[in-house]
């Protein structure tokens, strides 16, 4: 397990964790170590036996799997889990995953997820985090893309007390494509951190980051997004956008967009907005007889809709849509 481990916390890169005080979050928890148990559906044919807390999945060459493979990880009160999932998608294969994080109580899940996407292979990865508001969930995803590989991820994060969802994408082959999007729904005193780094190492790569946050009460959101274009990665097309909606005066959003570019023929852009609901569309809707609450609901649904409509898989889109509507109520 290469990523975050308990003994590494003391030596965390401070700049990288500036907005998210993981130490303080873990201090509040009293947990005992427990083995990580994943419930899986649809993956049995592809599971490779491995050690405790580690799941290996290999999708063989040119295999096309339409039905999403579901990975569910349930947390229990007072437990601490260190888990690892290694997914290898071989050349020309195509697969979808749904990762569900659930549980009740105060616990810490610390996960390391590694996905390698072979030549011309395609992966859709959907993460749905429906956690208990007292838990800590830290998840570190590393995605390695070979030539012509495609990776698409959408993460709906809500309800963990303290959450850090980190993506590191390495474009190791030419003409590979990564499309990352997500929605963080925060309330109470929740802390939701999305940290992304896309490393464009080879030329002609495309990457997109599109993340939104809705903050209620005294919640705090963090988005750190980096596009790192290496010297050889000419003709890179990198895009990054973060839109955040504050529904409370006490909520706080920290955003750190970063572009680090060493190649001279690339197209990269980033942008971010944070604010309350616009008065102008609100007035327009109300002038048509729509009461304030309903108008607000329509505008918030529209805000999240922009993320959800990017999900090509209809069954996932419907599932995420229901989850989000439930939260909005």
């Amino acid at each position: 397990m290469q990523n975050l481990l308990p003994d590494k916390i003391e030596t965390l890169d401070r700049e990288h964790w500036k907005y998210s005080n993981i130490k303080a979050a873990l201090k509040k928890l009293e947990t005992t170590e427990a083995p990580a148990v994943w419930e899986m559906t649809g993956a049995f044919d592809y599971l490779v036996p491995s050690g405790e807390n580690i799941v290996h999945i290999t999708i063989p060459k040119n295999k096309q799997i339409d039905q999403p493979i579901e990975l569910t990880f349930k947390g229990e009160d007072g437990k601490r889990y260190m888990g690892q999932v290694v997914i290898e998608v071989e050349q020309g294969a195509s697969v979808k995953f749904i990762e569900r994080q659930t549980g009740a109580g105060a616990y810490w899940k610390n996960l390391d997820m590694h996905i390698s996407v072979g030549k011309n292979a395609s992966v859709e990865f959907y993460r749905l985090c429906e956690e208990d508001p007292f838990c800590v969930v830290t998840e570190f995803m590393t995605i390695d893309l070979e030539r012509d590989a495609r990776f698409r991820a959408c993460a709906i994060n809500g309800c963990s007390g303290f959450g850090r969802n980190e993506f590191t994408v390495n474009i190791n082959g030419e003409n590979a494509e990564a499309d990352l999007s997500g929605l963080a729904l925060l309330r109470g005193k929740q802390h939701g951190d999305t940290t992304v780094c896309v490393n464009h190492i080879k030329p002609h790569g495309r990457s997109s980051q599109f993340f939104k946050t809705i903050l209620k009460d005294q919640s705090r959101g963090v988005y750190q997004g980096k596009i790192h274009v290496f010297k050889d990665a000419q003709k890179t097309d990198g895009y990054q956008l973060s839109n955040n909606l504050l529904l409370s005066q006490q909520a706080e959003m920290d955003i750190k967009p970063e572009l680090e570019i060493y190649a001279d023929d690339v197209k990269c852009s980033h942008g971010s907005t944070t604010g309350e609901l616009d008065e102008t569309p609100m007035f327009y809707l109300r002038s048509r007889g729509i009461p304030e609450d309903k108008a607000r609901q329509l505008l918030i649904e529209a805000f999240v809709g922009e993320v959800l409509e990017k999900i090509p898989c209809e069954c996932v889109r419907t599932m995420f849509d229901e989850r989000v509507k439930l939260w909005l109520k």
């Binding site: 109300r286 002038s287 007889g289 529209a302």
Partner: protein, 246 residues
């Protein structure tokens, strides 16, 4: 019938309306013309209840209902409709859903049941046909990607669907070419009825060739300074506002 008495209003502490009096009986179309800064748009926003427009005195009643004490959505339920000068784009809110939500909100406020899905579609089909609005337009988000003409036709479509008692058309002619103007004006004229009145706010006389008013008012310095028949609009077009405002 709309009755406005001695209405005063300000924005950011600056007084814009200075004791405006206006009566518009049911079934009539009145036009308000006036130079820039006269308070035309302020009047439309004050009547529809937009935030930031503070009423400091006077009254406005629609069929005996005190508009100024109501929220914007309650004013709509009371029968007021404002056709915006610049209709607002709302990404992510689909047209049909928007129209249905608006119609049902108003029905609910009036104590009526929600409209049946099939009846709604029938009603919508009939109204959109009159205005030459394609199905494709209703699948889009509200006003997003609409041309200037489509946005104004969309305002008239909403008016037709919601069947208000009193409509304000705020510079509906702005940004329209002559063909689009005719379509919009025809749509409005079709809605003229015994129990419905209109206030047409415009800079130019041109619109009034197509929506012929019963009465023309001149607004300057935040109040009505002159009232006459349709010929007043032609007179203004010829002479300009300078003489009247002076």
């Amino acid at each position: 019938m709309l009755i406005i008495k001695n209405l005063t209003a300000e924005i950011d502490g600056k007084q814009i309306l200075n004791g405006l009096d206006l009566e518009i009986p049911s079934g009539e179309v009145h036009a308000i013309m006036g130079p820039n800064g006269a308070g035309k748009s302020t009047l439309s926003y004050v009547l529809s209840g937009r935030d930031g427009y503070e009423v400091t005195g006077g009254s406005a009643e629609l069929d005996g209902v005190d508009l100024l004490s109501l929220d914007p959505n309650e004013r709509a339920a009371a029968g007021l409709f404002l056709a915006f000068q610049y209709p607002v784009e709302i990404p992510g809110v689909q047209m049909t859903n928007f129209l249905k939500t608006a119609l049902n909100s108003i029905r609910k406020a009036k104590g009526q049941d929600e409209i049946e899905a099939l009846d709604f579609l029938k009603l919508l089909k009939a109204k959109q046909k009159d205005l030459g609005i394609a199905d494709e337009m209703l699948k889009r988000a509200v006003n997003v990607g609409f041309s200037g003409g489509e946005k104004k036709r969309n305002e008239v479509l909403q008016m037709a669907m919601l069947e208000p008692k009193f409509c304000i058309l705020d510079e509906t002619d702005s940004g329209l070419d002559i063909d689009a103007l005719k379509v919009v004006a025809d749509g409005v004229n079709r809605l003229r009825a015994k129990d419905r009145s209109f206030l047409v706010i415009t800079h130019y006389q041109r619109l009034l060739d197509y929506i012929v008013p019963d009465v023309v008012h001149v607004l300057a310095g935040g109040k009505i300074v002159k009232t006459g028949g349709p010929e007043l609009a032609k007179e203004l077009e010829a002479k300009g506002y300078a003489e009247l405002v002076a």
